[in-house]
Amino acid sequence: MSVFNQSRSYIVRLIFLVTFIIISIQLFNLQVLSSKYKQLALDNAVFPKRVFPPRGIIYDRLNRPILNNTIMFDLMVTPTQVRGVDTAYLCRLLEIDTAEFKQRIVTSIIRNGRYRPSVFEGLLSPEKHARLEENMWRFTNGFYLQERPVRTYPYNVAAQILGYIGEVDSGIIARSNNYYIPGDYVGRNGLESFYEEILRGQRGIQYLIKDNKNRLVGRYENGEFDTAAVAGRNLRTYIDVELQQLAEKMMNNKVGAIVAIEPKTGGILTMVSGPNFNPNDLTGSDKQKNFARLTLDVSAPLLNRAIKGQYPPGSTFKPIGALVALDEGVITPSFGYPCNGAYYGCNRPVRCTHAGGGHAANLRLSIANSCNAYYTHIYRLTVDNPKYGNVKVGYAKWKDYMNAFGLGTKLGIDLPSEDNANIPDTSRYNTVYRGSWSSCTNLTLGIGQDMMTTTPLQLANAICLIANKGYYYTPHFVKKIDDETEADTILNKYRVKHEVLTHISDDAFEEVISGMQDVVERGTARSAAIPGINVAAKTGTAENYRIIERKRVQLKDNSVFVCFAPRENPKIAIAVIVENAGYGGTWAGPISSILMEKYLNDTLRPERLKKVEEIANANLMPSYLERLQYIEDSIRAFKWFEMTNDSAYLKNYVLIERSGVPASLPTEEKWPPVFEWEAILPKEEYFKNRPLV
């Protein structure tokens, strides 16, 4: 039957065959020719989890940990699994309301999706953690506690030196060649940042399998491809944690800085910047809040004034000026200047605290009595030295000396963002004085004023140079890295001796140092004497100008003090600056002396302990800060009001008239105000008790 159509069976077979061949070609294309699908499948299913090793610990010179690692806990939530949880109870434990609870769940879903865990509350305070730990069995649906390693600071000190750990930003990611990914933690600021690569160790990778909902379900190939994490290495520093504690205590409620260096090694024993804060504030649950508070504080507690503060050195500069003059041969140790209470060599007199009586009859006496006229005079002698023919050449030479002393240049300390302060060069004076200036123009450079500024670190380093009679090591914190190898070159530059000023004769150094010893024994710093130890020191009382509200205001003098001891075998050199505090011998001197005594004798005499308390309790915060804070805060409140029309903050700063309209909000006609804050600062009486000076 129907055999007449039998040929069609071949066509049917042909259709089958062609279809299957087309399918086979596509399979060949997918499975053999194209290699991307294998990778796509791995991307789908394999999650390379980064395993972070413990960060290195930082120890002080006696191997006490200044910072350490500890575990805090994050409360994690997996939104889909939250079922049948007593949310009201959980809210009570966490001290939040149910609206906040819902908001956090929504945020988690937005951030990480509903199948993956997100942080519900990070870095639980110990009390909350304890409360939750006890009740965790109630919340096993969807909630769990996850360990989070964080830093802890057992001595509560050295916040500005150590820096902190924070999430990476896009800049760091780019600079690291994408080593970091968003969400990674990295050392921000301080030693944490400078030694990041040592401290962080080597991150490991664990390959985990995830399913279609991004849940992790196990190890990939039993961990065959995993790389182990290598722990971060510890740092051994020169810091003396007890000295640091003492120094920070004394800088309480003061603006300024303390730097103490071991002259023989350049190792920094103590570095304090006031005002200060507790490093533990930047870990834990209140981290964000505290960070905001510190950032908005106009006294800038986050600023490390020891390396970033620029201060005129004032009279503490005099030993340096003397050494330069001696080395240049413009004076001899026996050179004297007949000072009658002021220097009259130029148009304006430079006043001196003493008058007559041969108080500057020779170099030693001039240092001990801190004669301004003497040093103004020898500065002029130095820069007007006939052998240079021209004040500009002479000044350039003088500036070279300053840079050799490490003033006005970055020293290269092992902290990020050191400032170079300022020794102006000739071009600067040329610009300011249109090319016509003489040694009279900037004669107060001789007594550490004029445009000259230094950082406290530079000042301390210059004292080391004097103590060492011509050489120094770049100041640094880290003595050694645990398991240091040839490949660790980061510390090499701190082990190089800089013999920059050894051409100055030992006699010149001896003479200047003797003068500095006289300062303590019978000069301006008798309060700094330590029985049984020969201390060399120099006080300074630097004029303190500041531009506040667009006016250059002279504030109370800065109290400056430099010293080293013992004279014969210098073990510690210190520079202290206390802003707005008056005479160098009044505040900076005793602070330095107490630190030296503590470091050299390991204990303090009872009367010194009393002095410590006295200093620590003294509040020398400049009064303009409070005024500035008010202005800053009110501007911020005003901007907030402008942005949101929410007057909640602004109300604290404006007088409200009876109609309910703020008395002095800017009106259309008055807009824009000269200063934004002018418009909202009507309370003249508020400032009556808060003068600028």
Binding site: F4, S9, F16, L27, F28, S35, Y37, K38, L40, A45
Partner: protein, 446 residues
């Protein structure tokens, strides 16, 4: 008569049985690979029948038992009761409308107790039988248009009922019966027209409206020009050319947009556009509101399945990642991976080699069925065999093509391999009836 000689093994083509067992074996292995959960005790789960692979195994046993029943049945029984079965099948399809249970958007499933039954799947058997019966009737002269229309109606009636149950994929299967009609003398021109319309639809989707219209016009013009001598003699030819041109442009400009706008559902439109790799035009999406729609390129949800499926198959490379080693199928990246997308497990686990083995086995089965068909003395058996070949070919071809991105996603199972009781039973019964008929190939059955 055969009843007196009850050796049921007589005349059975063991090659068919062998290929059947081989493919079912591959299927159960693949389902095992797709659904095995780490830590399962394989033996226990086979005994407790709680896992998918063990359930499929039961259905296999059940299929074999039914197969044996079929083999002991008189081969005349199938021809004699074909129309009855057809009536029964249509009745079942109609019963779906009042009694269906809605599951995953389909309205084609009847649930009796814990047992789910899909008449649209089962109905292939009656249709295959009824069509063979009609074509083998002495009074049927298949060269007549009337007979061709009746035969087409037998196949298309259940297809229409299935479309009404929102199972377009299953409905398309009924068009595979045109293979039978083609073998029995359906003029080639009908198939050529069918293919041309299909090609025109594909071109409509691929090309810009006006571009295609111009191409068609140019094509018509060229045809008219090359045939100008014949046209001089016979003006009717020109009219024909113009009519065909008008029909083509009509389909392209109005027919296809009409179907996409009014007949197809959103997910079907998306699947079709996903296959050709283009974004769905807004006017084809029902309930689309430009003001509320998110900006940026619209997500084509159909893309995900095919993309994951291609990744799974592609990641198998030449030799495969090994059973249970494929991450795509182990961790549920491919949706429906034990049913419609079961081929992914084979592609990922056994690679190009494994996939080719399965394809060659399938091809061998199809070729064997054609060979079997051609050796039948009775038209009924031959038509039935072609029906089985057509149904299997359609399922295999579309299913494989959709998993590798050559065809739109149409939810039809891979015969003997995909998980699903109704599907395995239906295909087994189809094949066992063929084996039974073939055993009596020297007999003329009406």
């Amino acid at each position: 008569m055969n009843q007196r000689n009850p050796a049921i093994s007589k005349g059975i083509d063991w090659r068919l049985v062998g290929l059947y067992l081989l493919i079912v074996g591959i299927g159960i292995t693949a389902i095992f690979g797709a659904t095995y959960v780490e830590g399962d005790n394989v033996i226990t789960s086979f005994l407790t029948f709680k896992t998918d692979y063990s359930k499929q195994f039961i259905f296999f046993i059940l299929s074999v038992i039914i197969g044996v029943f079929i083999l002991v049945t008189d081969s005349k029984f199938f021809a004699a009761t074909a129309n009855l079965w057809y009536a029964f099948g249509i009745l079942l399809l109609l019963l779906v409308f009042p009694f269906h249970t809605e599951i995953k958007g389909t309205e084609s499933i009847i649930r009796i107790g814990g047992f789910q039954f899909q008449p649209a799947e089962f109905c292939k058997i009656p249709v295959c039988l009824a069509l063979a019966k009609y074509l083998s009737l002495n009074e049927t002269d298949f060269s007549k248009t009337k007979s061709q229309l009746i035969a087409a109606a037998i196949a298309i009636l259940p297809a229409i009922l299935t479309i009404l149950q929102k199972e377009t994929g299953l409905a398309l299967v009924y068009f595979s019966f045109f293979l039978v009609m083609y073998r029995e003398g359906l003029p080639s021109i009908i198939l050529i027209i069918g293919f041309s319309v299909a090609a025109l639809v594909v071109l409509t989707l691929l090309l810009e409206k006006n571009t295609l219209a111009i191409i068609l016009t140019v094509f018509a013009g060229l045809t008219a020009y090359s045939m100008r001598r014949q046209i001089k003699r016979n003006k009717g030819l020109l009219i024909n050319i113009v009519l065909i041109w008008a029909l083509c442009v009509g389909i392209q400009r109005f027919g296809v947009p009409f179907i996409f706008k009014n007949v197809l559902q959103n997910h079907q439109v998306e699947r079709i556009y996903s296959t050709i790799g283009k974004e769905v035009p807004v006017e084809y999406l029902k309930g689309y509101d430009a003001s509320t729609a998110p900006s940026g390129p619209r997500m084509n949800t159909a893309d995900y399945n095919v993309k994951q499926s291609k990744i799974a198959i592609g990641s198998g490379r030449f030799l495969g990642r090994g059973l249970l080693k494929g991450t795509q199928t182990r961790y549920d990246f491919v949706p429906e991976q034990r049913t419609d997308f079961i081929f992914c497990t084979i592609g990922e686990g056994f690679g190009f080699v494994g996939s080719m083995v399965l394809i060659i086995v399938y091809l061998a089965l199809l070729f064997l069925i054609i060979t079997v068909a051609e050796r039948q003395r009775s038209t009924f058996s031959r038509c039935y065999a072609y029906g089985v070949a057509g149904v299997l070919f359609f399922h295999i071809g579309i299913n494989l093509a959709m998993t590798i991105g050559l065809a739109p996603v149409i939810g039809i199972p891979l015969p003997f391999v995909s998980y699903g009781g109704t599907s395995l039973l239906t295909f087994s019964i189809l094949l066992f009836i063929l084996i039974r008929l073939d055993a009596d190939r020297q007999m003329v059955i009406r």
